[in-house]
Symmetry: C2
Subunit: 420 residues, 2 copies
Amino acid sequence: MTSSMRLEADYILETYLPPEQAAEIIAGEQSSGTFVAVPGETPALKALAAAKVESLETIATYNAVPALDGRYPTDAAMPLHQVRMTLSWPIATVGTSLPNILATVAGNLFELACVTGLRIVDIRFPPPFFQKYKGPAFGIEGTRKLSGVQTGPMIGTIIKPSVGLTADQTASLVKDLVDGGIDFIKDDELQSDSSVCPFEDRVDRVMRVINEAAGRTGKKTMYAFNLTGDMDEMRRRHDKLVSAGATCLMVSLNSVGMAGFVDLRSFSQLPIHAHRNGWGYLTRHRSLGWSYVAWQKIWRLAGADHMHVNGVDNKFSEDNESVIRSARECLTPISEDKPCLVMPVFSSGQTVRQAHATYEGLQSDDLIVTAGGGIVAHPKGPAAGVQALRDAYQAATSGESLESAAKRSKELKLALEPGA
Amino acid sequence: MTSSMRLEADYILETYLPPEQAAEIIAGEQSSGTFVAVPGETPALKALAAAKVESLETIATYNAVPALDGRYPTDAAMPLHQVRMTLSWPIATVGTSLPNILATVAGNLFELACVTGLRIVDIRFPPPFFQKYKGPAFGIEGTRKLSGVQTGPMIGTIIKPSVGLTADQTASLVKDLVDGGIDFIKDDELQSDSSVCPFEDRVDRVMRVINEAAGRTGKKTMYAFNLTGDMDEMRRRHDKLVSAGATCLMVSLNSVGMAGFVDLRSFSQLPIHAHRNGWGYLTRHRSLGWSYVAWQKIWRLAGADHMHVNGVDNKFSEDNESVIRSARECLTPISEDKPCLVMPVFSSGQTVRQAHATYEGLQSDDLIVTAGGGIVAHPKGPAAGVQALRDAYQAATSGESLESAAKRSKELKLALEPGA
């Protein structure tokens, strides 16, 4: 078996055991999977099937209270090792099903007794995964084509309030935004289908506005309708979107899950706007869970076209360095043959003030920025909010300062006033 | 709107803000969803749509280094409040889609800047969810009927090594176990479909053994085949299982996800054995993520028949109290009309030595115990391993000590010998 037929994953492991011993326990759990040698477990079989510790590099050794609870004293410091560990598995025995591979690279290992911290930081797929899974159907190019935004950042918003607006009220807000020349609008992840704002009703009314404007101006605003739900609901809603002339759909990844997502990708005729809500519980402790680098690769391979990355100076807990790293990852090829590039989507407390740092960090204008309050709460209304955000990004990408641009743009100037 | 039409969730929150303020920020994020009042956000709409802080109870106030990273100093102690918080949402605006509800109760809130710790500890669904979702199709009663185990714990095992055995080798191991009178066998979560052990081949060979024995003895061992994969694969594999006469299927919940799982439940003609691998990254930090109480309710409502709960004295990091609490939860009704009771599945390092503590903790014999090495590594082989485990549980449920039972059972005696 060549190494190209092995799946690899990198971890940051913290353990109180000698690292080599801990790594062997983890590799054992994730292949032979039991605590004693069993009759069928011959050396030949082990060589064929076992997970292999490809590398192990000590980062630090220190005394500390373990971050995670376990069957060790958790109220006192103890000697701990932090190591970077790479494991590999032969696909001949673990297969190439993306859902099942999650059980391989991110299954029981997080619970092992010798683990005081474990975080998956990267994954590398061998070629058969790229043959089996399709990656983004639209990606950056397809999104630009459908939205008519050939170059530059895509200026977008999220319908706010997130829930409570009727379909009519939503469409009315959309009309203001579309008239203001917005490129992209999305539902909030809380809004999918409810008695106050039924999905089909929202699609009908919103698309009437968008189609009418497109017929008039030639510009068709891309609206990502949140069809998150059960599979039969998502299928029905997808077909509704296609027949209504919509150009994007949105789905919450942690709600739908991998098997449902792959299925959606198989029948979707529209770009998939992938929302990462719930990401906090997967990542927010530094010694546990998932890094965005590892996590987003799986969803890109599975077919996401747009991936949420939070935003610079967001209202959440993530720092800017992490946000920019995530966004740049979306524009980094997963493989040479199938790069699976996706549009990074900036959101959370976004206003004109973050345009420069966002563009400078990403070093690309392949991005979608979605400002909720940052657009609709503009003193002169949503259309002015769109213009202000566009002018801010125009300034950023052309190397002009925000202050200088504000001298030419009254919308930007207003957006920069205290309290705006 | 009556309170019975609201979805409720309980959290343990840690914050540096006054708790009332933090709770309002969280409720705001999970309903209106932006950082400024926006034009459409009238008081009437807020009353209709907003998440409500139902209760807030301070558990403790202390100085500590925040557990989670954030935009605050994380290397120094600061005054923190730990509170129990209950939020509620009107289903008129958030809907009744289980996948989308995940975005409501467990979406962006974990990432908020004011949150230094957040764990969802319970969920309560209003009646429309019980009308829409089916719960377990088989549950305890259906599982007992299909397996022919009318009373008492179901004695089971996991095929080990987890990966590497061919279909023939698996069937040969199954034959020994079936001849030993085992009630239940499951695939390991690493084993689904691979070139070394293709799913269909494994089903054919294993079911030939099981069907042959059933024809001869009248007892049909229940085998949970791991069909985790893409939706089309799971559908095909399900049909294969039905046509081969199988009586159970297994799926990894965190691999498949909620939408795929609900779909599987809609077409499955077999009990669903729900594996929780990956659970560690959702739960292992005490101030982050999911409690099992909250998490398992969702999957039971969605249709799981068996739920993994780890095991007493397991090889993982979880303590026995937590394991028993999880297991008892599986036997606690979710609602009066639709209790959704499921078989708790004990696993991880299980041997004859845990039978008494397991039964005493659970106070019920409605359980499946799966011992991997604990059965197949018995000095006299798998059949003796089955007998030893059965004798241990028989002793536990009848109030006899292990030592006393071992005097009558040579298999149990051998299993208790040092090194066994």
